[in-house]
Amino acid sequence: MSELDHWHPVLLSRELSDKPVAVTVCGQRLVVFRTRHGVAALDDACPHRGMPLHRGHVEDDRVVCPYHGWRWGADGRGESPGNPRAKPCAAHYDCVERLGAVWVKRPTSEAPFPFVDVGGHTLVGTLRARAKAPLEIVLDNFIEVEHTPEVHMFLGYTRGTMADVETQTTVTDDSVRVWNHGPQRPLPSLVRRMFAIPANAYFIDDWTTRFSPVHAVYEQYFLDGPHGPRAGEALRIAVFFTPVTARETDLFVLAYTNATRWERPLAAALRLPLVRAMVRLEVMRDCALLAHMADAPISLRNRALGRFDQSLVASRKLLERIYRKRPDGHLPVVE
């Protein structure tokens, strides 16, 4: 059993050209390359003598080892120009390009592909960012709002109103949902106009975390007054957490909006890059902060947890059971 039994995004589509690329996912080094119509992933060491295959090139849908010219197809089947009767085989992975990213999983696994309900929305942008901290520590940061006054600039609450922010955590067999409701922090008028946010807006941050693979989908929108009708633009953002090694985690952020590109095309062409930049900035601030948490113990045992941390404990349990497939009670601990 391995974490790679789940589908993981490993690259953004735009990061993969016609050259093979090395990626590390869950500590495994893979080479990812494009074939004529698809994408493929193999162990990044030529089974012949161990040469990293990403140093090679792609020819006829196969990656060619730069050392002795052995070549490997998407299904792992290889051939050697000098050993025409040999039928060598490389470890291969299921690989698909979807939602603007390249995803891999072990071919023996039947794990479902994560469903993100963005079929109605407009893509704002995709981004990959590396957080230099272990998966659990990174996930913790993304499933509570108490850090938003200190870390974030746009979306979230202020230190002064944090005590008034309502938060509700709902746990099911395979998901943890967190709903937060509080006064939106003051915003520059340009940003307010950009999102059509009313003056007395309340910000709802409502997300659900699932664990095959580990990802959270955020629904972020505004109310006109504490219990008023919905107002302004809404974002739907999916964040996938791909462990690179035990100490680093890649974030794949797929950001969508309920606004369209085609109704006021000129305004949208100006606005969408701004929204994209804003999402990037906020994620970068998370990553900068998380770098200081690289050596923090993963366990939550003996931590002084507050009311916003309920989802952390629930998520750790599901992460252990669903993602890591370890029996209850295993480290990283929750009590």
């Binding site: 698909v96 039947e110 592909f113 109605g120 407009t122 309920n258 369209t260 085609w262």
Partner: protein, 375 residues
Amino acid sequence: MSREAEAVVLGAGPSGLAVGGALRMKGVSFEVLERADAPGHTWRTHYDRLHLHTVKQHSSLPGLPWPAHVPMYPSRDEVVAYLEAYARHHRIEARLGETITRVRRDGDRWAVEHTSGTTRARHVVVATGYNRVPHIPTWPGREGFAGEVIHSGAYRNGRAFKGRRALVVGAGNSGAEIALDLWESGARTALCVRGPLHVVPRDVFGIPAQVNSLRVMSRLPPRVADRLSLLMLDRVVGDLSPWGIRRPAIGPVSQVLVNKQIPLIDVGTVALIKQGHIRVVPGIARFTEAGVALDDGSALDLDLVVLATGYRPALDAFLDDAPRYTDARGYPTHFGADAPAPGLYFVGYRNPLTGALHDIAREATAIAAHIARSA
């Protein structure tokens, strides 16, 4: 029990509700009869991930725009919520649990026989839906097949089919999206495509196919529109024949106008076909115990077959003289206000490129105006 009404509307799906809304705005009194226990029944039972394939900006029913926060392609649940809000907004209280058994001429009026009695009206609007009765073709050997066979109407999601070998029959919009859903659920999925097929991405360069067709294609002569569409499809879809999907000889716009056949609106299935994750196979010759034998002589072992083979309106089940008003497949040939019998109207049996709901809204408005004039 016998009742009287100015107009009676058969069905409380989008079409029936739209006519109800349009009649309410004209001040005409009406009754709506619905066989299910809630309005919008078919939408409630569609598969989980379904979104409207047309944008909400061009899919509202008469008198009520979509809420601002709903994204451009509303989800199934958002469509249901909209239909409920629509009924509330126009105070349409459909009589539920009323199956229509017969519609007949009765003097200068129509008599509608239904579960709880007969309702008579001068105007009867048939809005029983595009999707009334699942169309299930027959194949030899079907009874001997050891796996499961369901119609797409009964498919909700792929959770139960992880690791199973699945075949979706029929490359309409639901068939293609169900194949995508099954693949995502971890099923080994094939899609059966029998005839030639145009494939149109739902959005091209960020512009919805529906907007493109409303603003550009439907304003051009069909031959020009065909040429333009094919140029665009060459660029964004390309030749799918290596995967077993052939293009029809007729262009995509003419195909809708002449054959009444809409292209496949792709929401991601084609990318999975090209990447080799979903296999396209030819038609089924017959079922075997282990699976199916295909038209090309090959065999496919299967655990599940989903028949996305469509629906029929089956109006002859209740409408006297139905063949007078319908084509060979049972679809009405008259729309808006020109059915050849006075006071008889059909709405919601077309599926144009400009969108079914868009068309329903226009038809409903025309029908209500006609009824109001003759009321």
